[in-house]
Amino acid sequence: MTRRLSTLVLAISSLASACDAGTGGALVDIEIELAADPPQNAPTAATSDRFETRLGWQVVLEEAKLALGPAFVWAPEQARAQQRFGFVSVARAHGGYDPFSGRRVRIELAEQVVLDALAAQPVSLGSVTAEAGPVDTAAVQLDPPRRQAAIETHDHHVWLRGTAERDGQQVTFAGGVDIEDDGLLRRVNGIAARFEIVASGTLTLAVTPSLWVDDIRFERLRDEDGDGVADLHPDTQPYDAVFLGVSDPGAYRVDFRAPD
């Protein structure tokens, strides 16, 4: 296991202590792991890689990978790290407003990782330094993949490969989806995360890949090059459905497990 020192957490702690006595917690070491979840409330037996979508397609995913990070877990609103008492006049963008700007970060996954949404078991990322205390929401950043992530996701933000079948029609599909760099389009805010961070606990960041494809109208995929595989193309419903799926905070789970 490797230790990742979250310098941002330390910076926030020292900055906040002058103004926010009583809301800063002790620095503690915790573990972080990535995981994949099966669909919730599935009508039939389902796993993270085999499930039925809400449109009635039976999907088997053979690959599902997401370039993810950084990720943040925020303290409740009252524990603001940085009170906006400064007088830097900033013309606020009307769209793209980040409601979590200035919130106190208790856990930060600083690096980009590849989340294998079909992994059978959780994957440990090692330990980080976090700030003890309550949290109530989390966010993940979905940036273009770099280095190893780019290899695994074929240079896309998210990469999918699998088959879908409905009423005798079968579609084999593969492709990646990319997210524009516009405002907060690459940020998934508002992921539920209500728990207390304590020393030696484990943070789990999980995704439900079925929600990435739940709204795909597979009948609109086309095998344009005749290789038997329909590709995901921008400016199509399937492509946009995946974009909305990976952008949905409901497709993510952030939990914390205190030590035994």
């Binding site: 603001r80 606020r92 200035g102 909305l244």
Partner: protein
């Protein structure tokens, strides 16, 4: 007609620069008091709709629709000032009903409450509620009985009624749609940023009347993307929903857009009035809700309800946290 919007700056997710606590305000003014006058505004757009002139520029819908208001009724209450520890200033702000389209055009604001004897200090946490009106809720100015009845029937905290036309203010009304939306939820806002100075909350200065405005940004109702820097204003998918529901029910299209109609528009597959993929200038339109919105069914109805309940701001552009309630 040019589609212009006020210029925007790059959105930033980074935290603002923090200074040391301004203890001088919190400490030295402990015994001093000021007054707070709370007003409400729907900005000029509550009176004009779109297209309209704003600051010398024309603000118009990107898909060319004209939208005009008949009524915009909201019920607000519980204006709150709290310090960093959550201690409240003890204000009494009972619910008030108001029609934003009836506000004086010369001031663009209407009085709600006035509080005397408020401790002079920074109150970093400003909030208020947009609530369901009850029997006896006071109306500030003219509010129609029909609107109040519609709100009570739907359990609504906000009521929007108006019309839209794909051909502008066309007298033939060949492409005219009406709409009426009673928003069946309510919301608590908190942690409002002050749009006047981009700081948290409100500084109550001693021995003077301090102004606080609840500002409703009605364009949010028609945004296609709450995460983009420059969202588009669209009405086409709302109009299309009227025909979609009619077709599903085997009825004639009444061209009156309701929330029930909007249930028929799937956010992952929005259609235009011709039943084709919703596109603008050749690009497919994908709606993206505001950060943290919970839209379990993924319909345009849920999207619009969420947008409506997050139109409230503070002192102009000041954003707030929204806690939507059923």
């Amino acid at each position: 007609m040019p589609n212009r919007r006020a210029p925007v700056c790059a959105a930033s997710s980074a935290s603002a620069i923090a200074l040391a606590c301004i203890s001088a305000i919190a400490g030295c003014a402990a015994d001093e008091r000021g007054a707070v006058a709370v007003t409400i505004s729907g900005q000029s757009f509550a009176l004009t709709g779109w297209p309209a002139q704003d600051g010398g520029e024309t603000v118009a819908f990107d898909d060319g629709w004209t939208v005009r208001w008949d009524e915009i009724v909201v019920a607000v209450s519980d204006f709150t000032l709290a310090d960093r520890d959550g201690a409240l200033s003890g204000l009494d702000a009972p619910p008030i009903l108001i029609d934003l389209t009836k506000i004086d055009a010369s001031t663009l604001e209407a009085d709600l409450w006035r509080f005397e004897d408020v401790p002079a200090q920074r109150w970093p946490n400003v909030g208020y509620a947009v609530v369901r009106p009850e029997a006896g809720t006071r109306a500030a100015g003219e509010v129609s009985d029909e609107a109040i009845e519609a709100m009570r029937d739907a359990g609504a905290s906000m009521y929007f009624r108006g019309w839209a036309d794909a051909d502008g203010d066309d007298e033939t009304q060949a492409d005219r749609y009406s709409f009426a939306w009673a928003i069946p939820r309510w919301t608590l806002t908190s942690g409002c940023q002050n749009g006047a100075d981009q700081t948290d909350g409100l500084i109550v200065e001693p021995n003077q009347v301090n102004e606080a405005e609840i500002t409703f940004h009605l364009d949010h109702l028609f945004w296609d993307n709450h995460d983009a820097e420059a969202p588009r204003l669209l009405f086409e998918p709302l109009a299309a929903a009227s025909a979609m529901r009619a077709e599903a029910l085997g009825e004639d299209d009444d061209r009156h857009v309701t929330l029930e109609d909007l249930e028929y528009q799937d956010l992952t597959d929005l259609l235009d009035r011709q039943g084709q993929e919703l596109r603008l200038d050749g690009d497919r339109i994908v709606y993206r809700p505001r950060a943290g919105a919970q839209l379990p069914k993924g319909t345009l109805a849920e999207y619009l309800v969420d947008a409506a309940l997050s139109t409230g701001h503070f002192n102009g552009e000041g954003h707030c946290q929204y806690d939507l309630q059923d």
